[in-house]
Amino acid sequence: MGVVVKKVELSWLDRTYVWPVLKGMGITFKHFIKQLFTPTSKRYTIQYPDMKKVMPAGYRGLHELKRFEDGAIKCVACFMCAEACPARCISIEAEEFSDLNITQGFEEKRPQVFKIDMLRCIYCGMCEEACPKDAIWLRNDYEVAAYDRLSMQFGKWDLMNTYAEADGKARITEDPMPSAPRRVLAM
C-alpha cells in the first residue's frame, strides 16, 4: 500500500508567494540576529584550536597506564590486553622484579616494555575491558598526532605520563627502585 500524499491547499495569501517569502525572511532574520548576539562560547560551532569539546564520560581516547601512589606501575604484564586487542597494536615484554614495600619480597611480573602502536590502535577499549588490574584506561584526550610514524609508537613511559599534566601528577621516567635484595622474606 502506497503512502497517500496529502495535498496542501494553499490560501490565496500563500499563493501570492510574496507573503510566504516575507515569512521565510522573518525566520532567517531571526536566526541571523540570534546568532549575531550569541557570544562565541555559546554558539554551536566549537572553534577548535581555541576551544575544545568536552568529551562525554566513557569516551575512549588516548590510553593511560595507571600507577600506584608511589609510582609503581599497576600493570602485571599478564598479556590479557595484548590478547584482546583486535588490532594487535600492543606489544609487551615482561620482566621479573621484587620489592620489599610493593611485593613483600615476592617475585612479581611487570612490563619492561609496553608499546602501543597508536597508528594501529582503533580505540575500541577492549584492552581496558580485558585488564584484570584496571591498569590501562582509555581517557578523554583525542589529539593523538605526530609529525612522523616513529613518534606514534608510545612506549611504557609515554603511556604512564599521558595524563600527568591533566591530573596534576608528576611525570615519572623510571620504576621505583627495589629497596631490598631478592627473596629476603620469601619462605
Binding site: 510574496v18 517569502v21 532567517t28 541571523f32 540570534k34 546568532q35 562565541t40 554558539r43 560551532t45
Partner: protein, 353 residues
C-alpha cells in the same frame, strides 16, 4: 575643485569628472568585494554558523574576518592561470571583462547625492550629468549586455556543463528583462521623464510618495526580475552544483574566476542602486525636504546597502527554482503583472490622478 584642476592643468569640469569616476567606481568595487565577505558571513549567521572569521592582518588583527578579502585576493592573484586546451582563447580571456564592465557601467547614471552649487557652477553627484539624453534607459541597455559575459564565458569554455548553464542563464535574463522593462516604463510614465534626477525629484522626501507605494506591483516585479538579471538565487541558473557543476565558470580559475565572481557582486550593487533610484527615492532623505549633500549621500548609501543585504538575505532564505518554474513565473506571472501595472497606471493618468 578649482585648485585641484589648476594643479592638474585641466578644466574644473574635467577634474570633477575624473574625481567622480574614481570615487564611484572604486566605491562600487570596494563594496562588491566587501559584499563577498558579507555574503559568506551573513549566510553563516543565518544558518547558525560562524563563517570566515579567522583571516587576520599579520596573523594578529582579526577585525571580524574582514581580512578574508585580502586573503582571497592574494590567493586568486597568485594561483596558476589555468587555461584548458580546447577553449576559444580570445573569448575565454574576454568573457570576465564582458561580465565585469557592464556590471560597473550601469552605475554611471545613478545620482548618489544631491546636486550642489559651488562657485557659480552646479555639481551633479552622478558620473553622467542629468540631461544626457539616456537616463534610465542606459542602465537597462547595459544590463542587457550582461548576458554576453555569461554566454561568452560559457561558450568559450568548450564544456557542455558551461554551455548549458550559459544558455539557461541567458534565457532567464532575456525573458525577465521584458517584465523588468515594463515595470520601469510605468515609472517613466508617471514621472513624465526617464532621467534619474527627474525620477528622484518627482518622488519627494515623503516615504509614502516614493514609487514603491503607488507602484507596489511594479516594485515586486522589478525586484524579482533583478534577481534573475543578477543571476542570483533563487534564479541562479548560470550555476547549479547538482546539475551542471559550476555552470559558466566551471573552467575558470585564478583571477579570471575572481573577476567573474566580483562581476556578480558589482551587478548586485548596480541592481540595488537601480531599485533605490526607481522605487525608494534615491538620495531623498525621509521627512527632510532639503537635505545637505552629506546627508543625501548617506541616505543613498544606507538604502543601497540595505537592498544589497536584501539580495543576500533572500538568497539564503529561498530554495532555488526549477528551470520550468522560473520560466513560468517569468512569462506567466511577471510579464502579465507588469503589464497590468502599466495599464492601471496609464488608466489612472488618463483620469487625471
Amino acid at each position: 575643485m578649482d585648485t585641484l584642476a589648476s594643479l592638474l592643468h585641466t578644466s574644473p569640469a574635467l577634474a570633477w569628472m575624473v574625481v567622480k569616476i574614481v570615487i564611484v567606481f572604486s566605491a562600487v568595487m570596494l563594496l562588491a568585494s566587501v559584499w563577498t565577505w558579507v555574503e559568506r558571513r551573513g549566510s553563516a549567521m543565518i544558518q547558525d554558523r560562524i563563517g570566515p572569521n579567522r583571516a587576520a592582518l599579520f596573523g594578529r588583527i582579526r577585525i571580524i574576518g574582514l581580512a578574508q578579502l585580502l586573503a582571497d585576493g592574494i590567493k586568486f592573484f597568485f594561483k596558476e592561470d589555468l587555461e584548458p586546451t580546447d577553449v576559444n582563447r580570445g573569448l575565454f580571456w574576454l568573457a570576465p571583462f564582458l561580465a565585469f564592465v557592464p556590471a560597473m557601467l550601469g552605475f554611471a547614471v545613478i545620482p548618489f547625492g544631491r546636486d550642489f552649487v559651488s562657485g557659480g557652477t552646479i555639481y551633479h553627484l552622478s558620473v553622467l550629468d542629468p540631461g544626457n539624453g539616456m537616463g534610465m534607459l542606459y542602465p537597462m541597455a547595459i544590463g542587457g549586455l550582461a548576458v554576453y559575459g555569461v554566454l561568452v564565458a560559457a561558450w568559450s569554455s568548450n564544456n557542455k556543463w558551461s554551455i548549458l548553464g550559459g544558455m539557461r542563464a541567458s534565457a532567464a535574463m532575456v525573458s525577465y528583462e521584458i517584465g523588468m522593462s515594463l515595470a520601469v516604463v510605468s515609472i517613466f510614465m508617471t514621472t513624465g521623464g526617464y532621467d534619474p534626477a527627474e525620477i528622484i525629484s518627482a518622488q519627494g522626501s515623503l516615504p509614502w510618495h516614493w514609487n514603491v507605494v503607488p507602484q507596489f506591483l511594479g516594485f515586486i516585479v522589478f525586484f524579482t526580475c533583478m534577481f534573475a538579471e543578477t543571476n542570483r538565487l533563487p534564479f541562479d541558473f548560470a550555476e547549479g552544483e547538482s546539475e551542471i557543476v559550476a555552470g559558466f565558470n566551471t573552467e575558470y580559475g585564478s583571477m579570471k574566476f575572481s573577476l567573474l565572481a566580483l562581476a556578480e557582486y558589482a551587478h548586485l550593487m548596480t541592481a540595488s542602486a537601480l531599485v533605490v533610484t526607481l522605487f525608494f527615492g534615491g538620495w531623498q532623505v525621509p521627512f527632510v525636504a532639503h537635505p545637505s549633500v552629506g546627508l543625501s549621500i548617506l541616505s543613498f548609501v544606507v538604502k543601497l546597502l540595505f537592498f544589497a543585504w536584501v539580495f543576500v538575505w533572500i538568497r539564503w532564505t529561498l530554495p532555488r527554482f526549477r528551470y520550468d518554474q522560473m520560466m513560468r513565473l517569468g512569462w506567466k506571472a511577471m510579464l502579465p503583472m507588469s503589464m497590468v501595472n502599466l495599464v492601471v497606471h496609464a488608466w489612472l493618468m488618463s483620469h487625471g490622478r
